[in-house]
Subunit: 195 residues, 2 copies
DNA sequence: ACAATAACTGAACAGATGTTCAGAAAAAAG
DNA sequence: CTTTTTTCTGAACATCTGTTCAGTTATTGT
């Protein structure tokens, strides 16, 4: 056998990425073999190498795509005039964006140690850009006198860590709706940073 | 060769656990081989099986020890009368305890997916006991009228997630002292839950 | 209709994996 | 000193690892 019926690059490529994303999130990068990914796609392991130079590149590509989509999505959110409104917008955006892609989020946080040094540097700088955006809001709020924050860097990380926590427990069939979750978290974030 | 000079069970045992803890935290459970752990201890791979029935048990043992130490340590903290004081005590305790064992904390959160189903259940229930302790404080604070919290379960997870974030950035040589970190976080926690 | 190309197979590579176990050496017990 | 027990070695096991590549087939272009 060789090329199979209905085999197309523009179909197999995304399917490989989807399978890898799901498997990496479920079992961890190191625990997933190329053969497992291939099997999920319905293809032999060798075929994967038409779409990625190696396993490490596949992981890196998934992570950097996620980080770039995150940044692009946040950049496209209309920028409110007041820091308080911007922070509320961010809270809602961050929660929703992350709940829509639990696997990618999981990988982006858990598989950092499995990146090569140079790949790690790239992902880290993408993350820092995102964090700096949040810190900018907090700093502005402090200048405008609406926020009281002893250390904006720590507060940034604290807010993000708190919001990321949603992914560990939220289930769409659960007790609370997305709107309710957003409201509850916004209440805590707002109080935590307010003057 | 066989038994080597100065070989003792009560020395090798802990050394294996320490090496495994460090390596699992650094590279991940799946990425670390028994031979790597053995090499770190200065022993052949086969010798590890005098101390653990298998690799999975080693991971589980490390995680359950950590969770039990955590609970025991928190139980030994004097229980203040008012919820506000209890929450402050918890904030300080949690930050310090976790910063003292970054590797164990890392593993306890990241390697859950590498546990067998039954082992996972055990660890999860230990975690729930700890979380329930925190929720108890929040509930009491609400009853006493000092806290305003729409959902104590979410608030519990949010507070813990926020505090856990410290481990991702704190360095002892860094800009802030432990006392300062504790103060900053307590400020945010207090405001977030206060009425 | 044929030629060119893209997509894939299947086998092979050298090495690593968790785990077992007979035997050897050091330590402890008598 | 002799025996017993504890601790460890070193080899072996079957299987899995990421990756390469010649060859084969389906699709596309002419």
């Amino acid at each position: 056998m060789a090329r199979t019926q209905g085999s197309h690059s523009d179909i197999t490529g995304p399917r490989i990425r989807e399978a890898a994303l799901r498997l990496f999130a479920q079992h961890g990068y190191a625990a997933v073999s190329m053969r497992q990914i291939a099997k999920e796609v319905g293809v032999q392991a060798g075929a994967l190498y038409n779409y990625t130079p190696d396993k490490q590149s596949l992981l890196f590509s998934l992570m950097s795509s996620h980080m770039e989509e995150l940044q692009a999505a946040w950049d496209s959110v209309p920028r409110a005039a007041y820091a308080m409104d911007r922070l509320r917008a961010f809270t809602g955006f961050h929660i929703r964006f992350h709940l829509e892609r639990p696997d990618a989020v999981f990988i982006a946080y858990m598989e950092l140690r499995n990146l090569t040094e140079e790949n790690f540097t790239v992902i880290e700088s993408l993350r820092r850009v995102y964090e700096n955006g949040v810190e900018g809001i907090l700093k502005e709020g402090v200048e405008q006198g609406v926020f009281s924050i002893p250390d904006t860097k720590i507060a940034t990380l604290a807010v993000i860590a708190m919001l990321n926590g949603v992914n560990t427990w939220y289930r769409s069939e659960g007790r609370l709706s997305l709107d309710e979750v957003e409201r509850v978290y916004w209440g805590m974030v707002q109080k935590a940073v307010s003057a």
